[in-house]
Symmetry: C2
Subunit: 168 residues, 2 copies
DNA sequence: TAAAAACTATACAGAGTTGTCTAGATTATT
DNA sequence: AATAATCTAGACAACTCTGTATAGTTTTTA
């Protein structure tokens, strides 16, 4: 249940391009310097983003990368889908049958419903935040998320986690 | 952003103990057969759960495992914390500085706020579902989650993901 | 006290992830 | 046409995760 390095660093590179939106192309070296990553690693990440259709590249001298669409039309879910995929992909149960051919819980699995729900909530939430939204600074982002974004404020309201031992 | 095998299979073992609640202890072999896993693997998973304080063990003949508390007082967040840890742990930024000593975004990082928020929402949600809740069947669980659990139904309401290219 | 039942601990190979390295292909400029 | 700038592709070693294997410890029972 961890964010992978590729998801994290790939998103940083994407946000860097968003911050540079409208300024022509950005070279790998520029992105690497801005983000504190090695140019080799940035190259690899940009390839993933390009194959995923999120950025366009121009080769040769004066070449570089730019977003394939405007920053406000690329959602964080688009980015995560390209960089790492779903929290609970369709094939998960099929891929985790244990030592049997079919999962012991194939017929009736409450866990599956739970993860599917969490996955849908995360996907739904990330689909409503764009790269343009991320371009605000940290403090503005915090304010926006906790006060202006209804799906967050509603979910956070009354979300005191149940203490262990408190009962159902 | 994937669920790990240890999280998935460990939770299945824990749920198996919950289903057996009140029936004395359950042997590794029983759990393994019920879940379709190898006894060796179940042993390893049970060790993690025991070190995490979620289950108690009895050694020797007639020994086995049981939940350390009632099923309704162990939340899914308790389980995930022991089996895999947070989606976005406190140390994440410190552990991903790139090639610099300090992260290039240490001072102002809108991404950090975003992941922290998602992480808090997942933790809050999972803290309000217990092993006892999981003991219902799949269909009952689905109904319960989508209609009775306010934080889910509120979050799902109006959660049509924004299509790519639709704009902000 | 010996044997069987059952958990405990650690080592290990295979697979996936991470980040680097090297060589190649394409384009602008002179 | 030659050179420099820049992206492209794939190999690779170190690390982590996954699941198995093996040997050890504790408890019950006869």
């Amino acid at each position: 249940m961890h964010l992978s390095a590729q998801e994290e660093y790939g998103l940083r590179c994407l946000l860097r391009l968003a911050l540079d939106e409208g300024e022509g192309v950005m070279r790998v070296q520029d992105i690497a310097e801005a983000e504190g990553l090695s140019p080799e690693y940035v190259s690899k990440l940009m390839r993933v983003l390009r194959l995923g259709g999120l950025v366009d590249s121009t080769r040769g001298a004066c070449g570089g990368y730019r977003l394939s669409q405007t920053a406000d039309s690329i959602t964080l879910w688009d980015a995560i889908e390209v960089l790492g995929g779903s929290f609970f992909p369709e094939c998960f149960c099929e891929a985790h049958p244990g030592i049997r051919r079919d999962c012991a819980r194939a017929d009736d699995c409450s866990i599956r419903v739970l993860w599917r729900t969490v996955s849908d909530l995360v996907r739904g939430g990330l689909s409503r935040v764009s790269l343009a939204d991320l371009k605000r600074g940290e403090e503005a982002m915090r304010t926006w998320l906790t006060t202006d974004v209804s799906w967050v404020s509603e979910a956070l309201a009354g979300s005191t986690p149940r203490a262990r031992g408190e009962g159902a």
